[in-house]
Structures are given as structure tokens and as C-alpha cells.
Symmetry: C2
Subunit: 239 residues, 2 copies
């Protein structure tokens, strides 16, 4: 499986993806689930994917090889139109593959998070469905998750608002990921994290986080320890 | 949906169930998901259920109305045999209903947690599937969850071992439930909690926890607050 989370804040955007892919427990491997599309100074977009890997790769192929003289993520002037281009790419793959997948008993299944900023527009994030339609983050729900989303949702619900500082949101995303990795073996390191300060129009804070990353190791150790500590400090029930 | 958790410890057993049932968001109501079967001093068994409510009620009917002169949860002398009786009741309901449910496009779907103690035996817990087969808790994984299990799994994974004291495990189950309720609207109060100290052979610590319960209110407030506090104390990432 997969776990990806993206957060939209007053200060900018945070994207975090794991890299474990599996087709059964005996076919586990690593594939990057985050792809950056950018023309520094003009546009920066990030795509994260959960679901069928072949569909994901086909979608990315179409995004990278647009038809001449048609709208593409490289030439539209706002992110809504770019999300439509991504949705159209999903539909193109579906039109080609869904029927054939069905013959093998496989559902056409993909979830995408797509976000970023185009010059002159506010940064934002969309979640794009298998049908090619999409929703945008709102002030009330400033984050999207795809894949194994449930384990890491409680901490996001408790901490994140639009006004959370960018670095704090990155820390929260990493704790959410750490909880997911601890409880679900199908989600694993390395992680790709993009911290995008508003108006930078380039992916200049892109990190690969593996077992050796000191910050993630610290989060992993400290968070578990502090959780057990505050757990111990709460009174036991009396009956 | 539903969230139920049961924990098996050196000191005894903990059972916790929510009570929200829904058939679509416009048909939400409360049904108790925990049923106690006991002959104080001889046997104490608790059953918790997730999945189709009609199936659950039919299973309970068969448990309460055993065939004369056949094994029942009231006369078997160990909990494994009692779990088999429960599994047989599930199969009886399936034989009667599964085909008919299928005609309405409904899967025969039920998950049960069944545990307790019979005089002269160690207390234990089983998870019983739709097929009527079952698994028992082990030293490595001393808890079972059914229903909306993922939100509340990280805290169990971090805190619970076989040697966790009974009251601490009850506290952990309540925190696990609180996280689930916060992140999933289909799980809700009131809760039924049974704390069973080994060898009591009676359900003497059975609590209904509603909005007014001071301890659960405290957990709900303090846990969220302390989480945000330890979150704030961890250094932000540097890039």
C-alpha cells in the first residue's frame, strides 16, 4: 500500500509520501510516489499517487508528453486547469485500460494528490479520483490523505489548522507517517518530503528521508517515549 | 460502523465497545454491541460484534436458546469449546441467510470478539470470523479490534503488553476509542466497558460511559491537550 499526506497552510504547502509498493507480501518493492513538475520562477506542482502503479505511471507519461497545442500542466495559467489536465490523463488511461483490467478481475483504482502554485495564483491542493474528478482543500479541512490514511489521521485532526506554521506541519506529517509505519507493514521508508514556502515557485526544500535521517529517528524515538510518558501521567480509571 | 477492542493481560481482560450503528448517515442509531453471558462463580463471557446487526442478533438468539442436550456456551467446560459454539451459531445464521442476502446484493459479514473465563481455565479472547472459524490472542499480540480499527491502533501498539496492569489497559482502550471517535463520525458514545480481573468469574466491573462520564471527559480533554503539548516540545525540522 501507500500513505501520502499533503497539507495546505497560510505559509505554504507540505507533501509527504512513503515509497513502499506491494502486490502481495512477497512482491514488496520501492517506488517513488511523489513526482515534481516545475519551471522554477513560474510554476511548481507535486503529484502523489496511491493505487495501481501501472495506472500511475501511465498518467505521469501523459502529463510529461502532452499533445501539441493542447492544455497541459506546463501551459495552463491556474492550478484548477492543471488539475483538470491530470483528471483528463486519468480518464485517458481508464478509457484504454479499465475494460481490460476488469477482464482480469481488477478494479480501475487510483487516488492522486496534486498541488502546487502557478505564478500570480494562490498555492492549493487537489485530491483527484479514479473518475478524473477532484476536490480542493478547504479552510476547515486543510489536508488530504491517500492510501493507508486512518492510522495517521488522529494526530492531523488534533494539530493542523490553516495557520499552523510550515515547519510544524512538516513535523506533524512525519509523526502521522511514523504512526502509520508502526501499525502497518505495507507502508515504509524511505520517505519523500517537500516543504513548499508560498511564492517560492520552485521545489527547493525536497528531502529524502531514510533510516539514517537523524530528524526522523528522533521523531520516531521521542514521540513514542513521550506518548508513553503522558499516557502514564493520566490517572487510571477508578471503579 | 463500530469500534470494539478487547485486551488480554496477565491480570485479566478488558472489553470496550461503542454503540453507534448506521445504515447510511440518515439511519444512525444506538445498539449495544457488548453482551455478557455469565453464571457468577462459574463462567463469565463477553461477546462484541461488528457488521450486519441482523446477523449479530440472530447469533445471540441461538446462543441464548441452545438446542436441548447439545453443547452450549452454558455447559461447555472451556472457552475454546464455547468459541466453537459461537462459530456454529454464525454458520447456522449463514446457512439460513447468506443466499438470501446475496440476492439483495449484501455480503454475509460479521466480526465477533468473544472472551472470558470458565472456572478452572485461564481467561482468554477469540476473534471469530464470518466463516465461523476463529483465532486466539497471543503473547505477542494480546489485543483484538473489530470495526473501525485503524485510527486507534497506534496507541495500542505503543503501550500494550501482556504485563500492562488492568487499569492502565482500560485507560489505553479509552484513549484508543477517543481517537477513533474524533476521526470517524460513525463511531460514537455511549461506550460499554468491562474490566474483568482474572478469576472473578463475574462481570462486576461493567460501566456505561456517556457524555457525562467525568473520566472519559478528562481523557478526551487531557489527551488532546497533552498531545499538542508534546508535539510543540519536539523540535521543528531544519532544512
Amino acid at each position: 500500500m501507500t500513505y501520502c499526506v499533503a497539507i495546505s497552510l497560510d505559509e505554504g504547502l507540505v507533501f509527504l509520501a512513503d515509497s513502499r509498493t506491494n502486490a502481495g507480501v512477497d512482491a514488496v518493492s520501492n517506488y517513488r510516489k511523489m513526482t515534481i513538475f516545475q519551471k522554477p520562477g513560474e510554476r511548481m506542482m507535486a503529484l502523489m499517487s496511491a493505487g495501481n502503479l501501472a495506472i500511475t505511471q501511465a498518467v505521469k507519461h501523459y502529463l510529461n508528453h502532452p499533445e501539441p497545442d493542447s492544455p497541459s500542466i506546463w501551459n495552463v495559467d491556474n492550478l484548477f486547469d492543471a488539475a483538470q489536465v491530470v483528471g483528463d490523463a486519468v480518464r485517458k488511461v481508464r478509457d484504454r485500460d479499465a475494460e481490460e483490467l476488469k477482464k482480469s478481475g481488477i478494479e480501475f483504482n487510483i487516488s492522486l494528490i496534486f498541488g502546487g502554485q502557478i505564478q500570480g495564483q494562490a498555492p492549493t491542493i487537489y485530491q483527484i479520483y479514479s473518475a478524473g474528478n477532484f476536490i480542493e482543500v478547504t479552510a476547515e479541512t486543510p489536508y488530504f490523505q491517500i492510501g493507508e490514511a486512518k492510522y495517521g489521521k488522529p494526530i492531523l485532526d488534533r494539530v493542523i489548522t490553516r495557520s499552523t506554521p510550515l515547519k510544524e506541519a512538516a513535523k506533524c506529517a512525519l509523526i502521522s507517517m511514523d504512526s502509520t509505519i508502526k501499525s502497518n507493514i505495507s507502508v515504509g521508508l524511505p520517505l519523500d518530503m517537500l516543504i513548499y514556502p508560498k511564492d517560492e515557485l520552485a521545489a527547493s526544500h525536497l528531502m529524502v528521508i531514510d533510516e539514517k535521517n537523524e530528524y526522523f529517528k528522533m521523531i520516531h524515538e521521542i514521540w513514542g517515549k513521550r506518548l508513553r510518558q503522558i499516557f502514564a501521567e493520566i490517572d487510571d480509571p477508578v471503579w
